[in-house]
């Protein structure tokens, strides 16, 4: 959604992300979610002990909300259906290949005599099917699979027919999709609540990216996930578990432009010290930094944005020219706070927002405004398409001069005033994330502006301080977590929830763990609308 129209006036105080009337949070039903490739891999690992990451053979998710888990975007292709079958066959082959593999889920199969085959199949399904479907199952559901097993058994081995049953389970909607039918809420006739097993599943995929473990299943079975307080208490335990770390990593990998650092390809003559190893270390730096702030450090968003330190190892510290850090393990190290502070000024973010040997204030500015301020910058209007030519990288000594047409031509300026003035403030960082005072022997002017905010910005540290002090910065961070946590795109109907959660975020000193827990306490997380959409 667009908060600013490029064709309108962008005042010094643009409407904020939270602006307008206060709204009541609404219960928004998540669209039917299918396991992502990461979730599929984790799920078969936990169910069957299969650690081969078989979902790599599935086609990519749509980029959607930026995190690759957007249920509003997920589509279904012939290739995906075909690969679900192929992957299921491979997983089932491995799961029935050895007595050890069978012991994980179908121990009786190894020694079953022909007279015991059906009873063994039934015993296996009685224990395994509720795990695979993440809920109690009905007798008819077991019977249907027993029939399938017998049908396949006629022309093959017993183990082969058991594998066929597993293949069928792994392709069924009950496994691949997170079905939420809900149940009546005795206290509120105008909404439904999740069943205990559905709640366990929601929590499990949110925090741990996998199927519920025995602990969660136990809580569901004893109906101890039915109040908001119980849900919150369990969520807090899960967030403190090491299994929650990949969730945080996945979030920041979607938010930050670091996933493509692997192909940050630079001219070795211009940047002799930059290489694939440094790019990979930069990516680790962003992960380590975010996790440190959240789990070991101050824990709050303002520190995330403005911390006077980073996480580096010996090789990366040497690259940045920081005072010596020993060892290949990452450790906390102070940065020169006249030049760098916080997440946005990490080398990986500055390199990842540059696509060649030359920085682009447009790309960097657009990144900051889209991802950190949640401003939707529209595509260039079609009547301009033929006229737009990126300036050649050698047309002027500095980026500010190369992109001067954007501020001179009023047609360009309407949109580019949302991007370029932000990007100019980052020009002291070159295409490989290193500080520079001059470009082509001309002193860099790093002044600029954070659109929508009155005061000018004098350089990179000023920029991150301005974002940290802005109203939209934390609101946008909240909105990004909402999209990621709920696995969908932000909906205008979410605005009430966004207002409430952002207010609580501010009141709690911008504690990021509290923010994540707050998403388990909204009506959208705890309830379903009365009527399915």
């Amino acid at each position: 959604m667009s908060f600013w129209s490029c064709t309108g006036t962008i005042g010094d105080t643009g409407p904020s992300l939270l602006g307008g009337a206060a709204l009541l949070p609404q219960t928004i039903r998540a669209p039917l979610r299918r396991l992502t490739r990461r979730e599929y891999d984790n799920t078969v690992r936990d169910l069957l002990g299969d650690t081969t990451s078989p979902a790599r053979a599935l086609p990519s998710e749509e980029i959607g909300n930026g995190f690759g888990n957007d249920a509003s975007s997920l589509s279904m292709s012939t290739l995906l259906a075909e690969q679900y079958a192929n992957v299921a066959e491979d997983v089932a082959t491995r799961a029935t290949a050895t007595a050890e593999a069978l012991a994980r889920w179908a121990p009786c199969v190894v020694a079953a005599a022909s007279a015991d085959e059906e009873s063994c199949m039934r015993a296996t399904l009685a224990s395994f099917l509720p795990l695979a479907f993440r809920r109690p199952v009905e007798q008819a559901e077991v019977d249907e699979l027993v029939l399938l097993q017998k049908e396949v058994r006629d022309s093959g081995t017993y183990a082969g027919s058991v594998a066929a049953v597993l293949e069928a389970i792994l392709q069924s909607p009950d496994f691949l999709y997170r079905i939420e039918l809900g149940e009546p809420d005795p206290e509120h006739g105008d909404r439904r609540r999740l069943t205990a097993h559905e709640m366990a599943t929601r929590l499990s995929y949110l925090f741990w990216g996998t199927t519920p473990d025995p602990g969660l299943r136990g809580l569901a079975a004893s109906n101890d996930l039915s109040t908001p307080e119980q849900v919150r208490a369990q969520a807090a335990l899960m967030l403190d578990d090491p299994r929650a770390r990949p969730m945080v990593r996945t979030f920041f990998n979607g938010l930050l432009p670091v996933a493509a650092l692997g192909d940050a390809h630079r001219d070795a003559a211009l940047f002799p010290r930059f290489n694939a190893t440094i790019a990979s270390l930069m990516r680790q730096e962003t992960e380590q930094f975010a996790e440190h702030v959240i789990f070991e450090g101050e824990g709050d968003w303002v520190t995330l944005m403005t911390a006077p330190y980073t996480m580096v190892n010996d090789e990366l510290a040497a690259y940045y020219g920081m005072s010596a850090v020993s060892g290949s393990a990452f450790r906390k190290a102070a940065v020169d706070t006249t030049k760098r502070r916080g997440l946005l000024l990490l080398g990986g973010v500055l390199t990842g927002t540059t696509h060649s040997n030359h920085t682009s204030p447009v790309t960097r500015g657009a990144y900051v405004m889209r991802k950190m301020m949640c401003v939707d910058i529209p595509l260039p209007p079609s009547e301009l398409a033929d006229k737009i030519t990126p300036p050649p990288p050698y047309s002027a000594p500095t980026a500010r001069e190369r992109f001067s047409q954007h501020s001179v031509d009023p047609v360009c300026a309407t949109c580019h005033q949302l991007m370029d003035p932000v990007g100019f403030t980052l020009e002291n960082f070159d295409a490989v994330g290193m500080w520079r005072n001059r470009e082509n022997d001309v002193t860099i002017d790093a002044s600029g502006k954070l659109p929508g905010y009155e005061e000018g910005v004098g350089g990179p540290v000023d920029l991150v301080n301005a974002i940290a002090a802005s109203e939209d910065g934390p609101a946008c961070f909240t909105r990004q977590w909402l999209s990621f946590a709920y696995g969908r795109s932000f909906d205008t109907k979410d605005k009430g929830t966004l207002q409430a959660v952002t207010t609580a975020f501010a009141d709690g000193g911008y504690d990021i763990k509290e923010l994540v827990l707050a998403f388990t306490q909204t009506d959208s997380f705890l309830y379903l609308p009365r009527e399915p959409e």
Partner: protein, 449 residues
């Protein structure tokens, strides 16, 4: 569901350089000595970054013309080639590269479409519905080399989406990327000479799919409209695969000569954006292997429709075999416009296209060649990198299907590319007069036959 039998043999020459006997399948009736009537196969090829126009444009008249330096590798197959000029991709509205790739086969703008993809189906899928879906083992084959190399981070994004479903969702379709999986999907079944074992394997597959089919059907009925639509969409694809299994069962024993298997262990198909020298170096080998599999799949009638995508619009891979160590987008504009390097890249793509066309021309389908019954479209997302212009698109057609007449350089007076898509559909017996967004349609572009 039409059931058909292996009823004749044909000689296939050229694939792998050896003459081999290839039993092939005719869907309905007797093969004709000449390919007449509607076109029978469609292939679209995408290459990134347009061209260098003054090194691309032929000189001469419609029927007496000289190929440019970039297109010179197509000299030997020129009699089947149509070089098109004066076609504008008006529907390519949105981000400069993304809008081009999303519009190329759909004729719809990116702007306003869901998630900024496309607002309609792509012609390959429309053609697949007409000639292939539920009739052949695979409705269509969409393969890509070195895909999702840049900012799409390995995910399906408007940066790399070319093919869109022919249904109400118009959802983007992901390509097949793994050469080994493609080979197994198309040809592995035929590798087992034991017919009984093959039949049992298919029967087992069918039993499992039956169960899966019933589960989706039953569960969908319990959900609200939006969620039900998702399961129904999944069920539709499961049924498409069930039909494919049936076609396979009917064709059992028809030995389709698989192409020679190629060792691609040095090529990593799943690394998306990561720069990897060995993977880049393997591109020519993998590209030819995929072309061989595509041509064989057509010759064996496993499908009627294919899309072959050399990379995405980001084109962030290098060309070590050409001695070009920077990525394609660097030469386009990231490093300043470098026409000399680009000319070599586009010339190389023309060589690969010539290989595809020549392989198709070498397959005898019973009195006519595979190329003669086909329509092959070659395009890109823009005209030239420095301008990103969508006028005078560097489009090629080739083949003879539906009466397509090659050996020509056809100049149009700035016609919309939607009209070209309409005329391509017309070659397949689809009589529509508009395709894609209506405002860009003025009727068939004509002059193809």
């Amino acid at each position: 569901m039409s059931r058909f039998k292996l009823d004749r043999r044909a000689m296939i020459r050229g694939l792998g350089g050896v003459a081999i006997a290839l039993p092939w399948l005719e869907v309905m009736g007797e093969a004709r000595a000449q390919s007449s009537g509607p076109a029978k196969r469609f292939i679209a090829v995408y290459t990134p970054g347009g061209t260098v126009r003054d090194k691309w444009l032929p000189t001469g008249t419609e029927t007496d013309f000289t190929l440019s330096p970039i297109l010179s590798p197509l000299q030997a197959i020129k009699h089947r080639l149509l070089v098109l000029d004066g076609v504008e991709m008006r529907s390519a509205q949105g981000e400069q590269h993304q809008a081009g790739i999303c519009a190329l086969l759909t004729g719809t703008p990116q702007d306003g479409a869901f998630d900024n993809y496309a607002g309609g189906p792509s012609i390959d899928q429309v053609i697949a519905t007409r000639i292939s879906r539920g009739i052949k083992q695979h409705a269509s084959l969409y393969m890509a080399v070195r895909w999702a190399t840049g900012n799409s981070r390995g995910l399906l994004s408007p940066i790399n989406a070319t093919v869109f479903e022919d249904n109400a969702s118009c959802a983007p379709i992901p390509p097949r990327l793994d050469p080994v999986a493609i080979f197994n999907s198309l040809f592995a079944g035929g590798a087992n000479p034991d017919l009984t074992a093959q039949r049992e394997r298919l029967a087992r597959k069918r039993s499992i799919l039956d169960y899966v089919d019933r589960r989706y059907d039953a569960l969908a009925k319990r959900l609200g409209v939006a969620d039900r639509a998702k399961l129904d969409a999944h069920l539709t694809k499961v049924r498409e695969i069930e039909l494919g299994v049936q076609v396979q069962e009917d064709a059992l024993g028809a030995q389709c000569a698989a192409p020679r298997q190629v060792d691609t262990s040095d090529y990593r198909h799943d690394i998306g954006s990561t720069f990897e020298g060995a993977t880049d170096a393997a591109i020519p080998k993998v590209g030819r292997y995929m072309i061989d599999m595509m041509v064989t799949a057509m010759a064996c009638d496993l499908t009627g429709v294919g899309v072959f995508q050399w990379t995405d619009t980001e084109a962030k891979h290098t060309f070590p075999w050409l001695g070009l160590g920077e990525h394609h987008h660097f030469y386009q504009h990231d490093g300043g416009y470098r026409p000399a390097e680009l000319e070599r890249i586009y010339n190389w793509y023309a060589q690969q296209h010539a290989y595809l066309l020549e392989q198709m021309e070498a397959v005898d389908m019973g009195g006519h060649t595979l190329l003669q019954e086909s329509v092959v479209f070659f395009g890109s997302e823009l005209q030239e990198p420095p301008s990103h212009s969508k006028r005078n698109m560097p489009f090629l057609l080739a083949g003879g299907g539906g009466g397509l007449r090659g050996g020509r350089f056809v100049r149009y007076d700035n016609r919309s590319h939607n009209d070209l898509l309409v005329s391509i559909l017309n070659l397949f017996g689809d009589g529509r007069t508009s395709f894609g967004r209506d405002e860009f349609c003025d009727g068939p572009i004509g002059r193809l036959t």
